[in-house]
Symmetry: C2
Subunit: 429 residues, 2 copies
């Protein structure tokens, strides 16, 4: 074993960073044995240097992250600051000054992954980010390496623990959205400002990363269709139950049937209770991957939290250190397929639509005609009426999102349709 240690700079020392530092210390011998050389924490960049950080030598702490990554003796920079800047500038500077980078930064990777990979490649460095998607669950490495000889057609997953906690709570207790969100906040599963989670921004960033790797193409954050879950109601869960389904916020990345394009989207959807994703409880994450040869694979585990995320960071750290010792780099960006990302209108799936309609003869015929005119085939209709008002629940066969949108627009213009109570996609069948 080499005795001169590899030097690691840690950018950020919050929930994840402090856990990375702790494990680097307590498991130093194991890490050294697995890497083939000791690793040494050479510096920790923080915003508040006065805060006491147990187990971290205060002499290592600095507020000058730029100076740390420019030192020139750093082998690996671990970036767990999050956000776009200064993380982007620091990672770029790290590459330029001899370091490879391990990052947990989904927002940055989703937005600027291609550019960062290019800088890494130009300087012969590694850029690893298993921790950016679904915490400890190995996903990036299996997609990039284990399935490198296969053709992935679909990635379907629960990649945000906060929203899964909320939806699970609504499902199991009948609670409304606000009540479930309040509980998630009280328990620390939701942040004070839950926007990034409940509006699907977090999941969309992960979808962009997963789609790019799975399909060997570039998918930017802007390419991902996104709908949050704040409008999911207790009534939607009741409808889902009637169909033998539950509701999950899903990230779905698909290759078009002709193989010539891909789509990526995040939205709430009904999935059958028999689907393995339906039984993913609480803040857990799970991702289904469908490929030509391997069939259906599922990866399941804690999608967030300091320790699980640190586990993913350290797995990458070991890999990057091994590469450094053998004078090589791991697989970089693989975007050779250069497939166009189709707009949401071209996505084909099934829909569950609840309509409030006048309770009089001929309404169903009118509604059915609108569906037929837009080429959307109806699977089942359920009608319930009382006191001159009725509700109509329509479940369609597979149709494009554009056809469905056209259908809904036309339905809204019917005198006999009082309102469209909800529209939800049905996935996983």
């Amino acid at each position: 074993m080499r005795t001169r240690p590899l030097k690691v700079a840690l950018l950020g020392c919050g929930v994840v960073g402090s856990e990375v530092a702790r494990i680097m210390t307590t498991h130093a011998d194991d890490l050294a044995a697995r890497i083939g050389a000791p690793v040494e924490l050479a510096g920790v960049a923080v915003r508040r240097p006065s805060k006491v950080r147990e187990g971290i030598d205060p002499a290592l702490v600095t507020t000058d992250a730029t100076a740390l990554v420019k030192r020139g003796d750093i082998d690996v920079v671990v970036e767990v600051i999050g956000g776009i800047e200064p993380a982007r500038a620091l990672i770029t500077t790290a590459f330029e000054h001899g370091a490879s980078v391990v990052s947990a930064n989904k927002a940055l990777l989703a937005q600027d992954g291609a550019a960062l990979h290019a800088v890494a490649e130009e300087h012969g460095r590694d850029l690893y980010y298993e921790a950016a998607v679904a915490g400890a669950i190995p996903l990036i490495r299996p997609l990039r390496e284990s399935l490198a000889g296969d053709k992935v057609n679909r990635v379907l997953g629960i990649v945000n623990g906060t929203t899964n906690f909320i939806l699970d709570k609504m499902d199991s207790t009948g609670a409304g959205y606000q009540e479930a969100l309040d509980e998630a906040t009280a328990l620390g599963y939701a942040e004070a400002d839950p926007t990034a989670d409940v509006e699907g921004f977090d999941a969309a960033a992960k979808a962009a990363i997963l789609a790019g790797i799975a399909f060997h193409t570039r998918v930017r954050l802007d390419d991902v269709y996104r709908e949050g879950m704040a409008e999911v109601t207790a009534a939607d869960f009741a409808s889902a139950k009637n169909m033998g389904c539950t509701i999950k916020l899903l990230a779905i990345c698909e290759r078009a049937a002709d193989g010539g394009s891909v789509t990526a989207r995040v939205h709430p959807a009904m999935i059958p209770l028999t689907h393995p994703l339906a039984s993913v409880r609480g803040a857990y994450n799970a991702v289904f991957v469908e490929s030509d040869a391997s069939g259906q694979l599922m990866f399941y585990g804690p999608g967030a939290g300091g320790s699980p995320t640190a586990s993913a960071v350290l797995g990458d750290l070991v890999a990057v250190c091994r590469n450094k010792l053998s004078g090589t780099t791991g697989p970089g960006e693989s975007a050779y397929a250069a497939l166009p990302v189709s707009p949401m209108g071209e996505v084909v799936t099934r829909y569950h639509i609840s309509l409030d309609v006048a309770d009089k003869p001929g309404v169903l015929a009118q509604v059915a005609t609108v569906f037929a005119e837009h080429g959307v085939s109806i699977d089942t209709v359920r009608q319930q009426g009382k006191d001159g008002e009725a509700s109509l629940v329509v479940v369609t066969h597979r149709a494009s999102d554009a056809s469905l949108s056209g259908t809904v627009e036309a339905l809204r213009s019917l005198d006999t349709v009082r309102g469209v109570a909800s529209i939800m996609r049905v996935e996983g069948e």
Copy 2:
């Protein structure tokens, strides 16, 4: 991209080998893009050269596997023959003649993995074998790389599809063992001689491989305690249902609580219906991994079959080819921890014991005394009696296998105990 192709020799062209060859041809462009150089099938060693193999140039086919691996221009040998010899000799010869090896051979790796890794390392070659455990499910790579910065404490899995199909059938239809086995045979899930599957030899080989990688130590096939599932009865399933459990053939690799030793075992066990492994149906495989930092992860997918196994082989092929191009090798054997493997007697778990006893006063007291004398604490007892005969179902708290064996031996010697109808471990709680 390099234009000179990497040359691949395929040893074996059965269900898996023919699928590997097919995908190498049909996905040649994708493989080339992902590797950075084209790969070329340079030779196929088979036993019956006269058999027509669609899509394979007859000029590539040979019966002389040794000559093929000795050619000296082969970059990677893909070994999908199975069994100990001639696979072992061929792999060794391949290393000596410049080739790295991708293998799907669980029996060989479980028996001689350490020696083969040593030869690979001596010659600077790669030895990859993701396909040896659980088909397409990425397990070796996640354990070896993704979790390289974590401390794995437990691997608990369904790693044999044939036995899971049989047990699932018994559970869902109430069929007996023989009936379910016959159906598995008729459907092609079980081989004509099902011994390797139903007696747990196949799962034990996988357990040895997984335990070695998970705990960074050497676990040989002989170290794995093994019990088959041919004695599981419909009555056992009824007992399991009473406890809110089902029965699975599990491979269980554990680190002792003090961290100083490990155990590996394969046997049928009851697991709660709420455990994610309980809902693994048919011939699917799933493996739970518990680690210090990552918590509980699960990997799920098809555990066998030509295409899924080929997917795993090809993922390894891409990795080995990339290593070859960058003049390096991937992680080899990691057995630095050198932990002793404890015998089965030291395994601690819970037990479900069914006894046939005389239906008279004092029997329960007698039985309870025997458990107490052996230090096995009872959780619940259920007594059912009729016509002078009674059955007693005892579920214990956690106790060592040795204590339980002593208890059962003493119970058998009691006049009032007519027989021990079944003993089953209870896992996953």
